[in-house]
Subunit: 97 residues, 2 copies
Amino acid sequence: MLEYSVLLLLRRQPCYANDIIKQLKEADLIVVEGTLYPLLTRLKKDGLLSYEWRESIQGPPRKYYALTNDGTVALKAMDDTWTSLVRTVEVLKLVHS
Amino acid sequence: MLEYSVLLLLRRQPCYANDIIKQLKEADLIVVEGTLYPLLTRLKKDGLLSYEWRESIQGPPRKYYALTNDGTVALKAMDDTWTSLVRTVEVLKLVHS
DNA sequence: CTATAATACCTTGCAATACATAGTACCTAA
DNA sequence: TTAGGTACTATGTATTGCAAGGTATTATAG
């Protein structure tokens, strides 16, 4: 689900790690560095994300991650998976109430 | 989410492992023995489930698991957590579309 | 010029979860 | 008494998330 959330975020525009953490927090999802960095590295390794270095106004340069074509395809698949999971829970709620 | 699903199932009536696997499959959730048994043991250990042995028509006796009071309380909390997660994803979908 | 603080990225170790696989125990029927 | 089906259990592995600590770059204060 976190992977899915990150891809959703990056659909709009490239972001770097702290951007992502901040935006997830705005959606009530608390994620820390130790979780996000390995996740971004993994998604990059799997070809779903790419990154480019951009200089910062203040501080060291940042890795701005963006969706690749494969990432867009994977995101569509996750859309279906997520929808299916939500539906599963709905069914369980209804049938066993 | 699987934990949540199992508690939802057991809300209606006590079930044993194969019952649960079958009913989850009917809701399009594939779970295998190696996953479910440790999960049931854990929920029992945490006091969310109790079980009683019942004889079977054919084969060895079965452990029928049921929600405890603590389990019912935990289920309510999971309801909120799940609703929150679903809402989070909805927000991410809308804001970043 | 150096030291400090802030920012950004990365690594390591641990715990929890899910799976594959194999194993044990019980019951019925041939 | 043995074979097969059912039910429960145990072990090892991969993945995921977190805590904690570490490295590198930049700006600012002394």
